[in-house]
């Protein structure tokens, strides 16, 4: 199970295989995005844009150019015509591609990585459709439909690391960020990344994607647990006895993630691969919108 030095031919083969898998992922993501009705998601705030937002009385400090004379002529006060804010946002999506995301607790369930890619790409499709700039971590965010294909291609690459750490490179200041990971690895990298993002005024969403097996720990007996990459090993004589303590630690990890998110003004939620992808997508979309 060594991925250390894949030959170029091997890489190409794998890339082709993955490339073949891309259209299905794209189609699936498009399909998932279709299920979200965009509707009148107004920015609900005044700003630059084309659409009329409201008239408001002029304050001191408003430039005379901004006064809407036609409206003001109908009364004694001066009114300013505000337009709805329509500035496009830059959204950076980080999908954890580490080995631990490749876990699936049951044969008929897709791996966590699949679910993360699906939700990430569907989110990208949705955001692109509503005119935002979207990019994967490491890519500069770009608008337009063509970005979907580029994202899909980028999502196909995996990482050899056991647990992933978020990238902050490519994040646009005051943009939005989406982290899709299981967050089971060391939290230091995440803290650093969140701090860096917070420094740049980036706010966003952390979605922890877990397999139901990781939530239930349905193991018994004498067991040696290996991490997906094999870097961590733990042996126990009776796995069943560890269950309660494992679950406590998992809950503690979730609390910690929640606290981290709250500290920097992010949103956090856990999503299980046993649930429908749509639920996770909706939550992420709403969370992004609310934070805007």
């Amino acid at each position: 199970m060594s991925l250390s030095a894949p030959s170029s031919a091997d890489l190409r083969t794998r890339a082709e295989v993955l490339g073949q898998a891309l259209p299905p992922l794209l189609a699936e993501a498009e399909h998932l995005a279709q299920t979200v009705m965009l509707g009148e998601h107004g920015r609900r705030r005044a700003g630059q844009g084309d659409e009329f937002w409201q008239y408001r009385p002029a304050h001191a400090g408003d430039s005379a150019r901004s006064i809407d004379w036609r409206r003001s002529a109908r009364s004694d006060a001066h009114f300013i015509r505000e337009r709805e804010w329509q500035a496009a946002q830059s959204v950076t999506i980080w999908v954890d591609a580490s080995r631990s995301m490749g876990f699936s607790g049951a044969k008929e369930r897709a791996s966590k990585a699949d679910r993360a890619r699906l939700i990430g790409l569907a989110l990208g499709v949705l955001l692109l459709r509503s005119g935002e700039r979207v990019g994967l971590a490491g890519q500069p965010p770009r608008p337009g439909r063509s970005q979907v294909v580029a994202m899909a291609a980028a999502l196909a690459t995996g990482s050899a690391a056991d647990y992933g750490s978020p990238e902050v490179a490519g994040m646009v200041a005051h943009g939005r960020a989406v982290f899709l990971s299981d967050f089971l690895g060391p939290l230091e990298d995440l803290e650093t990344a969140l701090a860096a993002a917070s420094d740049r005024g980036v706010r966003g969403v952390m979605m922890q994607i877990l397999d139901p097996a990781e939530e239930e720990f349905p193991f018994d007996g004498r067991t040696i647990f290996d991490s997906m990459g094999g870097s961590l090993t733990h042996e126990t004589q009776s796995a069943g006895e560890l269950r309660a303590r494992y679950l406590a630690r998992l809950a503690e990890r979730k609390d910690r993630l929640q606290a981290l998110a709250r500290a920097v003004g992010w949103h956090f939620s856990a999503h299980h691969t046993g649930d429908t992808a749509q639920a996770g997508l909706l939550w992420a979309y709403r969370a992004l919108e609310g934070g805007r």
Partner: protein
């Protein structure tokens, strides 16, 4: 080696038990293997300590389980035996006694095997042996070498009766001391105690007694409108069931089960009874009762006339004569016959169609011509006409000058009266019956007197026709044969007016001898005496019937003794036919009671004792296997693999259960599937079919023959048949096939009634069967002399076959495709039978053939073995040679042409016959 009641055949293996502690230490050191799992959440597990580390070593209970399994295996292989038999070799001669009666038949082979072992063992020890069968006549046995007896032992069969008095054997026992071994049937026999004490005096006596219960079936009786069945058993430990089956010929003469009744023995009860309510037609057909699954003569009861109920029509003088009931001419007859026969009422023209066995005319003088003719027809077919005299008969002119066809003798006018107040002489008594009389042997009571009678004219054959006379020689009962039947005239009335004969028991016995009434109880000695009884069927010890063959008849007196005491040598159980009726001699009588043999203390009885040698090896090894299986489960559970396996195994378990269920009912599923598949195959196109005879070779040839014919049809005609099919008459649907080829084998089983129904439906709805006796019809079908011909007659008797004729020259089969004059197969017999043309078929002017019947002949019967001529192998090459050289090939070609004509005839019907209408059509066209 013995430990208490336990012994070991290989005790040194027990040393292996020492290894158990070593095993304990070894197992303890090796914990169950862990599972490796990949799990991302391991990051959260790091640093978690196990609360208890006991699973590091094998848990103690698993150790105990494994140690027990190994210990059980070691003990099992050491061959433990509970209550081992102690065999003491004996010395001196050995006498083996077998009862050899029907009661031994239930496990005769076991007895013979046991005796064989004893003889062989004695042979190994150099002892001489003698074998006695107690059903034989007492004779002193000779001690001979074991080899001499070994062969004779195997050929010994049980007799169909029980040993008689055993006391005479005591005197016949050989001199000197010897050990004896008695294979007893478990029943008490007279003289048993004497023989036992004589044997114990000579040496050690061992008795082998079978623990199998013995079931006896008593003769069935008739009471309260139902057949009464009773069965006994010995011993009678707990509740048991006995299925009693009544067998007899069905309407087509095949022996079948007619009724069945389950008798339930209460715990401890040795007798069970049951009733079987049957319609008279069925009841009269029963020939034997048997207890299912019991192969002894005791479980078989043959029926005789006592169960048969005759249909008797009693016709009196009509209603015009009003009188007291006791004076009615038929009152005593009705009283006497009511319990033993089914009486028919009505006028003569009403009862004749019911075909009664007996018609009684009591003082009937005048019959119309129509009734006379009907009676004569009925008499020709075997009826018994019983007439009684009376005032009307005496006053009439019947049979006065010329003998009436329905009277045995001519009568003198007026009759005579003796012993009355106005006449001379005493009332007359009866003379003893002469030997030629059917009443011979019946005792004549002195108090039976006749006061008045009609008198017979002294004709030349009067003395022959007289079967009973008065003391002064005047005929009292006369008889005349008419066709297969007979007329019997009692010269007195049927009531007590002229004689007190109808009041006496003799009257009943006379009626019985005339087979008018049937017995209800076992025939007494006097009923049998004076007659010769010829065995018709005899039973062997296993209850199998056999034709008696040319066995000399037995005296009635001896038979009566055998009826009372049970059959014996010279009187085998079976059915004995007398002049008029038949009696069954069964091994078990109605009142037969069997008692278990009792043995004096000191005699060793084998076979019955509860403590028997019992090998424990199997049980211990099975236990070890079970423990090991439990160990597998426990180890899996310890390693945490059980849960996952159960989850994964659920689907597999369902599949397994389904497979197991299917395995339980393999026949149904397969039958259903194959029936459907067969129906689809058969309806895909024209399929020629042959009847599966059960003879693999014949079926193979028939299949190959139809295949060859199918090929020819495909080549030459527009009929393109599918592969031919074999048809099982019992299971397969026939409606799909237009044509059945039925090769006849001599040993073919008869189809069931359901199959006959199917065949008749097939024939009626346009199907055709080609019967092939495959014997070249050497003697012609009329003779039926070949076994196949006889089998065909038997098979076809149940079929709805129209009148047949030999195929006429202008039959449509001769021109339905090819023009043919002969129809050879491998044989060239010209005889071919088809449905007869209607008698009014006439050849029209200028036409080459007659205007024949519409439709297709339902059967073609011949014996030319066509399938063999048609048969081809896989390469379409002929399988069998036909004829010789070119002529033979020509014959094969004609055989194919015949086959094509038959199929064309089946498929197109009388189409070629329609050519008779051509002139008419042409005429119409011309207009």
């Amino acid at each position: 080696m013995m430990i208490g009641p336990l012994a070991f055949t290989a005790p040194w293996l027990l040393v292996g038990l020492i290894a158990l502690p070593v095993l304990w230490l070894l197992l303890r050191a090796v914990p169950p293997a862990p599972i490796r799992r990949r799990f991302p959440g391991v990051a959260l597990l790091l640093g978690l300590e196990d609360s208890a580390r006991q699973a590091d070593k094998t848990p103690w209970w698993l150790l105990v389980l494994r140690a027990l399994a190994v210990a059980a295996a070691i003990l099992g292989f050491a061959g433990p035996v509970l209550n081992p038999e102690q065999r003491q070799p004996g010395t001196g001669p050995l006498l083996v006694l077998l009862d050899g009666g029907w009661a031994d038949a239930r496990d005769w082979s076991r007895r013979v095997a046991r005796a064989g072992e004893l003889i062989a063992e004695a042979g190994r020890q150099g002892r001489t042996v003698a074998v006695l069968r107690l059903t034989d006549a007492p004779d002193t046995p000779q001690f001979q070498s074991a080899e001499a007896w070994a062969g004779r032992m195997a050929a010994m069969v049980p007799q169909a009766w029980l040993p008689g008095d055993l006391a005479p054997w005591v005197a016949k026992l050989p001199e000197g001391d010897f050990d004896s071994y008695w294979l007893t049937d478990g029943l008490a026999h007279p003289g048993q105690a004497a023989l036992t004490s004589a044997l114990t005096a000579k040496g050690a006596l061992t008795v082998f007694q079978s623990p199998r219960p013995l079931f006896l079936l008593h003769p069935a009786g008739f009471a309260d409108g139902a057949v009464q069945i009773a069965a006994s058993r010995l011993p009678a430990p707990d509740a048991a069931q006995a299925e009693v089956v009544a067998r007899g010929p069905d309407p087509s003469g095949i022996d079948r089960e007619l009724a069945r009744q389950t008798l339930s023995f209460a715990p401890g009860a040795d007798r069970a009874e049951g009733k079987l309510s049957l319609p008279p037609e069925l009841r009269n057909r029963i020939t034997r009762f048997e207890i299912l699954g019991q192969r002894t003569a005791g479980a078989v009861s043959l029926t005789d006339d006592s169960l048969k109920r005759r249909k008797i029509a009693i016709l009196g003088t009509g209603a015009d004569r009003e009188g007291l009931q006791l004076l009615s001419a038929t009152h005593y007859l009705r009283q006497a016959l009511q319990p033993v026969a089914d009486l028919l009422d009505g006028s003569l023209s009403d009862v004749l169609p019911a075909n009664p066995d007996v018609i009684i005319l009591a003082d009937v003088a005048r019959l119309t011509q129509n009734e006379t003719d009907g009676l004569l027809d009925w008499l020709d077919k075997g009826g018994l006409l019983l007439r009684f005299a009376g005032p009307r008969l005496a006053a009439s002119d019947l049979s006065r000058s010329a003998e009436d066809p329905l009277m045995p003798v001519r009568l003198r006018e007026g009759g005579r009266s003796v012993g009355g107040s106005m006449s001379w002489g005493e009332p007359k008594t009866l003379a003893p019956f002469p030997e030629s009389s059917p009443f011979h042997g019946l005792p004549v009571p002195a108090d039976v007197t006749v006061t008045e009678q009609v008198l017979a004219q002294p004709d030349p054959d009067l003395s022959q026709r007289t079967i009973a006379a008065l003391a002064d020689g005047t005929p009292l009962v006369t008889r005349k044969e008419i066709g297969e039947g007979q007329v019997v005239l009692f010269h007195v009335t049927a009531n007590a007016e002229w004689s007190n004969l109808p009041l006496s028991g003799l009257f009943m016995q006379m009626l019985e001898r005339l087979a008018v009434s049937a017995r209800t109880v076992e025939p007494g000695a006097e009923a049998l005496a004076g007659q010769i009884w010829v065995p018709e069927k005899v039973l062997d010890a296993y209850g199998q019937e056999a034709k008696a063959g040319e066995v000399a008849g037995v005296e009635g007196e001896g038979l009566a003794r055998a009826m009372a005491e049970g059959p014996g040598p010279g009187f085998p159980p079976g059915l004995y036919a007398g002049p008029e009726n038949r009696v069954a001699l069964n091994v078990v009588g109605a009142q037969t009671v069997v008692t278990a043999a009792s043995w004096p203390a000191g005699v060793k009885v084998e076979g019955m004792d509860a403590v028997r040698e019992q090998a424990l090896k199997g049980g211990l090894l099975a236990g070890a296997l079970l423990l090991l299986a439990a160990d597998i489960l426990a180890a899996l559970w310890l390693a945490g693999r059980l849960g996952g396996m159960l989850r994964r195994g659920r689907a597999a378990g369902l599949v397994l259960a389904a497979v197991a269920l299917t395995a339980l009912h393999p026949g149904d599923a397969r039958a259903q599937d194959s029936a459907d598949a067969k129906a689809i195959e058969a309806t895909r196109g024209v399929v020629l079919a042959h009847v599966l005879t059960g003879n693999a070779e014949v079926d193979r040839v028939a299949q190959a023959g139809l295949l060859g014919l199918s090929y020819r049809l495909y080549d030459r005609t527009s009929v393109e048949p599918e592969l031919p099919a074999g048809v099982d008459l019992e299971k397969d649907e026939l409606a799909f096939y237009p044509f059945l080829y039925w090769p006849i084998t001599a040993d073919q089983p008869l189809p069931s009634p359901a199959a006959y129904d199917k065949l008749n439906r097939f024939l009626r709805t346009g199907g055709m069967i080609l019967f092939d006796t495959r014997d070249g019809d050497v003697a012609g079908l009329g003779g039926g002399t070949s076994p196949e011909g006889q089998a065909l007659q038997l098979l076809a008797s149940g079929l709805d076959i129209p009148p047949l004729e030999q195929i006429p020259e202008d039959h449509v089969l001769t021109r339905s495709f090819y023009l043919l004059q002969e129809f050879p197969g491998r044989y060239t017999s010209p005889a071919l039978w088809v449905e007869a043309a209607p008698p009014d078929a006439e050849q029209e002017e200028g036409m080459p053939f007659r205007n024949l019947n519409d439709g297709v002949t339902p059967v073609i019967i011949g014996g030319n073995d066509w399938a063999a001529a048609w048969a081809v192998d896989d390469n379409d090459a002929p399988m069998f040679p036909v004829g010789r050289g070119f002529a033979g090939e020509q014959q094969r070609e004609i055989a194919y042409r015949f086959g094509i004509n038959v199929v064309m005839h089946v498929l197109t019907g009388n189409y070629k016959s329609d050519q008779v209408h051509v002139p008419a059509l042409l005429e119409r066209l011309g207009q």
